[in-house]
C-alpha cells in the first residue's frame, strides 16, 4: 500500500473547506488547509461506504476484465509440466541413450540397399519419357514441313500406351520393393519408416511426373490449350532432361510442373542456416521426448492394455497425449517449416505455402485442407479433379481421396511396425463420419468457431493420435514380447 494510493481515499472524505476553495485561493493554500485538517481525530470519522455498488462478479456489475485468469491458466499449465518433468526425472533419471542402440547392424545394410534402388526408378522414369518424345517430335516435324496441324498418329498413341505400361511397372517397383523390405527385412521401425516415407514421396512424384508429361504431349499435339505456355517458362518437350527430374525429386512438392515460380531473392545463407539449426534442435527434442517421456508412458501402459482396464487406459492415453502432441507439433515445425524451407532455399523454390494456419481449423475437413498442402494439391490435381471431370459425383471423388490417403497412412505406419492392423486406415476413415457430423456445427457456429476448433483438437490430438500410437505400440509388444525399442 503506497502513500499515493492510500491518500487517494482521503479525497473521498467530505470537503472540509468548501467556502475556502470556492473563494479564489491558490491551490497551494488549499493543500495546506487540507494538510492541517488531517491532524487529530478527523480520519476515523471519514465515511468509507458512501455509494451503493454491486460486487465485481455480480451480474448487475459492469463487465470486468478476466485477463489475469488467462495468465494464471497459462502459468498453471507451465508449472504442472515443470512438475511432470521433475517427477519423471526423480523416477527414471536421464533415459536418453545414444541413438541407434537398439538397431541391429544388418538393418543399416538393408536400409542402404533399399535407398540405392530409388535413383534407378528416377532414371527409368526419365528414360521412359525420353523414349516417348521421339514419335511426338517426328510428328511435329512432319506437320511443320507439310504446314499442317500435328495430330495423334497411331505411333504416338502406341508409344503413349507403352510408356504408360512402363511407368506403371516402374512406379509399382518404386513402392513395392521398399514396402517388402520394410515389412520383411528391416527390423527397426524408425529406419523402415524413413525408407517408406521417402519411397511414398517418390511414388507420388513419379505418378505426377508421368501423368503431367503424358498430358502435356497430348495437349501439344491436339493444340487444345496453347494458353498453358504462358504459365510454364519451359515448353514440352524441353523439360524432359535428367536435371529437371532430379530437381523435381528434391523439390518440396509432389506435383510435377515443367517449371516452378522461383524465389525472388538469391540464396540467403542466414535463413538457410537458421532453419537448418532449428531442424536439428527440433529433431533432438523429438528424440528426447520419445526416449524420456513417450517410452516410459507406453511401457507402463502395456499392463493396462493386457487387462483391458478401461480407466487405466484412459489415464495412460491422457498422459501420452501431451507428449505425442508436442512431438507432433515439433514434427510439423521440423518438416513442414524447417526442412521444406531449407530445401526451397537451396533450390530457390518460390511457392513456400507448404501449410496454412491449420491450428485455427474449425473442423477436420479444414484441417486436412490446410496442414499438408503438397499432399492436398496432389490429391486435388491427380485424383479429385480428373474423377469429377469424368462425371464422378464429388462425394464419391472425396471418398476415393480419403480411401487412398487412408491406405497410404496404413502403409506408412503398419508396414514399418510389421503390424498391418488397419488402425491407421480406420483412424483416417473414421474421420468421414466425424466430418459429416461437424457440418451442422459449422452451420450453427460458423466456420472456424472456437467450439469447432476445440473439437478438432480433442478428436485429432487428444484422442486420435495417442490412441493410434498406443495401439501400434501394444501390437508391437505382443508380437515381440521383448524389451521394446
Amino acid at each position: 500500500m503506497s502513500s499515493d494510493t492510500l491518500s487517494n481515499g482521503h479525497q473521498t472524505s467530505p470537503p472540509t473547506s468548501d467556502r475556502e476553495t470556492e473563494s479564489a485561493e491558490s491551490s497551494k493554500a488549499t493543500v495546506k488547509k487540507k494538510k492541517s485538517s488531517k491532524k487529530g481525530y478527523r480520519h476515523h470519522i471519514t465515511p468509507i461506504h458512501t455509494t451503493v455498488a454491486p460486487s465485481v462478479l455480480s451480474k448487475d456489475a459492469p463487465p470486468a476484465s478476466y485477463r489475469g485468469f488467462m495468465n494464471l491458466a497459462m502459468l498453471i499449465l507451465a508449472a504442472s509440466n515443470v512438475r511432470l518433468i521433475i517427477e519423471n526425472y526423480l523416477k527414471y533419471g536421464f533415459l536418453m541413450s545414444r541413438p541407434g542402440t537398439f538397431v541391429p547392424p544388418s538393418d543399416y545394410i538393408l536400409f542402404s540397399t533399399t535407398f540405392i534402388a530409388l535413383p534407378f526408378n528416377v532414371i527409368f522414369a526419365y528414360l521412359i519419357e525420353k523414349m516417348a518424345i521421339k514419335p511426338f517430335l517426328a510428328e511435329l516435324k512432319r506437320a511443320k514441313a507439310q504446314d499442317q496441324q500435328p495430330t495423334l498418329t497411331p505411333k504416338i498413341l502406341s508409344i503413349n500406351r507403352r510408356a504408360g505400361i512402363l511407368h506403371v511397372i516402374n512406379i509399382t517397383i518404386t513402392i513395392l520393393y521398399p514396402t517388402l523390405m520394410s515389412y520383411y527385412a528391416i527390423f527397426h521401425p524408425f529406419l523402415a519408416t524413413v525408407v517408406l516415407f521417402v519411397a511414398v514421396m517418390l511414388f507420388l512424384k513419379l505418378v505426377s511426373y508421368s501423368l503431367v508429361n503424358r498430358d502435356l504431349r497430348l495437349n501439344q499435339v491436339s493444340s487444345q490449350d496453347k494458353n498453358l505456355e504462358g504459365f510454364y517458362t519451359v515448353a514440352y518437350p524441353n523439360n524432359i532432361t535428367l536435371g529437371d527430374i532430379v530437381y523435381f525429386w528434391f523439390a518440396p512438392t509432389l506435383c510435377y510442373q515443367p517449371s516452378y515460380p522461383r524465389a525472388p531473392q538469391k540464396f540467403r545463407l542466414g535463413f538457410f542456416l537458421k532453419r537448418a539449426g532449428e531442424l536439428l534442435i527440433a529433431c533432438t527434442m523429438m528424440y528426447f521426448l520419445i526416449e524420456q517421456y513417450a517410452n516410459p508412458t507406453l511401457k507402463n501402459s502395456v499392463r493396462a492394455m493386457d487387462e483391458l482396464a478401461l480407466v487405466n487406459i484412459v489415464e495412460r492415453l491422457l498422459k501420452l497425449s501431451t507428449t505425442s502432441l508436442l512431438i507432433w507439433l515439433l514434427m510439423f515445425y521440423a518438416f513442414f517449416h524447417c526442412y521444406m524451407n531449407v530445401l526451397s532455399e537451396a533450390l530457390e523454390f518460390g511457392d513456400r505455402t507448404f501449410y496454412l494456419d491449420w491450428w485455427n481449423s474449425g473442423s477436420l475437413e479444414t484441417y486436412w485442407r490446410l496442414w499438408n498442402r503438397p499432399v492436398y494439391h496432389w490429391f486435388k490435381r491427380h485424383v479429385y479433379l480428373p474423377l469429377v471431370g469424368q462425371g464422378v459425383p464429388p462425394i464419391v471423388a472425396t471418398l476415393t481421396v480419403f480411401t487412398i490417403s487412408a491406405a497410404l497412412h496404413e502403409l506408412m505406419v503398419g508396414v514399418p511396425t510389421h503390424a498391418i492392423m488397419g488402425y491407421a486406415f480406420g483412424g483416417m476413415m473414421a474421420q468421414i463420419p466425424l466430418i459429416t457430423l461437424s457440418k451442422p456445427l459449422e452451420k450453427w457456429r460458423g466456420k472456424g468457431s472456437t467450439l469447432g476448433n476445440v473439437l478438432f483438437w480433442v478428436s485429432f490430438c487428444l484422442v486420435g493420435q495417442p490412441a493410434c500410437v498406443l495401439l501400434y505400440y501394444y501390437q508391437w509388444v505382443i508380437t515381440h514380447r521383448v524389451e521394446p525399442v
Copy 2:
C-alpha cells in the same frame, strides 16, 4: 475435402476460353464450356505452384492468428487435470470422510465457550459508549440553555479517557481469550481457525467502533466539521444503540459508520438463495479438495522435508500449488462473493465492493489494495491516515500497516496450528522488498502489465502460499508425529 473447396482450385487454372467469355455469352454457356473442358487430361497439367509466397510462420509472411494454439493450451490444461484426477482415484480411491472425524469431542465444548464470550465484548463496548454519552449530552444541554458553543469540559475529557481505557481492556480480552483458547486448549486447527477468525474480525470492528465514536463526540463538541452530518443519516449520539452495534457486528465491513448506504432494492430471495447455494457448493468443494488432493500431497512431502531433498520439495510444492490455488480461489469466491453478499442481502447493506478485480493485478501492491477491501479500508482509515496526519512519513506508515497485517496473519495461522514459527509473518514482510523490486517493472511496462501479472501469480500463488502451507503442515507433523488430520 469437400467438392466446393477442391473445385475452387480449378478456377486458378488458366482460362481456356478467353475469347468465348469475352463475347457476351450467357454465363450458363460458359459453365457448360468449362465442364466439357474438364473432361480428359486437362487436369493433370493445371499449374499448382503459380505464385511466390513465404510460409505462414516465416517472419516475412503477413501476421497470422494463433488463436487455435490458445484453445489447445486450455485443452491440455483441462486434459492433464482430468488425468491427475484419474491418477489420484486409481491411487487412493475415494478419501473424503465424514467431516469432523478427527475432532476430539472436548473441542466442541471449548469452541462453543469461546464463541459465547464474544457477544459480551459487544455488549461491553456498547455500555462503554452509553456511559460516555452522559457528560457529553449534559454539556450540549448546558450550551444550548446558555446559547453558547459546547466546549470540551474536563468532565468530557475525563470520561473520554476512562472510556478509552475500558475499550482497550475490552478489546484486549476480545482477542486475547480466543487466542489463548486456540493455542492451548482447542486441538483441531480448523475449529481454532474459525474461532480466531471471528475474534479478529470483532477485534478490528471494536477498534473502529471506539475510535469513530470518540471522534464523533469530539467533533460534535468542537463543531469542527458539521458537514459530516450530510453523509450520515443518523447523528451522534443517536447511533449509540444496541441494535446499531449488533448490525455493525454482522455487517460485511470492518469500518464503523453511524449509518451505511442501504441497498436500493428490497431483500431479493432469489439472489440470497443462489449465493447461499454457491457458498455451500464452494465449501463442499474446498473440503473435497483438501481431503482428496491436498492431504495426500502433504503426507507424501513429509519425507522430502525430513531429508531436505530440494528437488523433491520443489516437485511437491508444484503439485500442491494447483490444489492450494483452487482452494484459495474457492475460498475467495465463497467468502468475499457469496458469504458477504448473503450477509449484505439480509442486512440490506448497499456498498458491496468487498473486492475489486485483483486477478488482473500487475503487482503485489495492487493486489493487496484490491482483493480485500474491508481490511484495506480499515488499515487506511484507522492506521495509515491517522499516522500520516500526525506527520509520520508515508513510507513508515505503510511499513506499520504491513507489520500489523503480518502479525495478524501469523496470529490467524500460527496460533491454530500451535506453531508460532513466523512463516506467515515472514511471508507478509517478504513482500515489502518484492513490491520495491516491482517498482522499476511498473515503470518499464506500465501498471497492470502481463509480465507484472504473471510475476504476481508466481510469487503469490505458485510459490508463497503452497510454501507456507507446507511449512506449517510439516511443523504440525514434527510436533505431533501422528497421522495428521
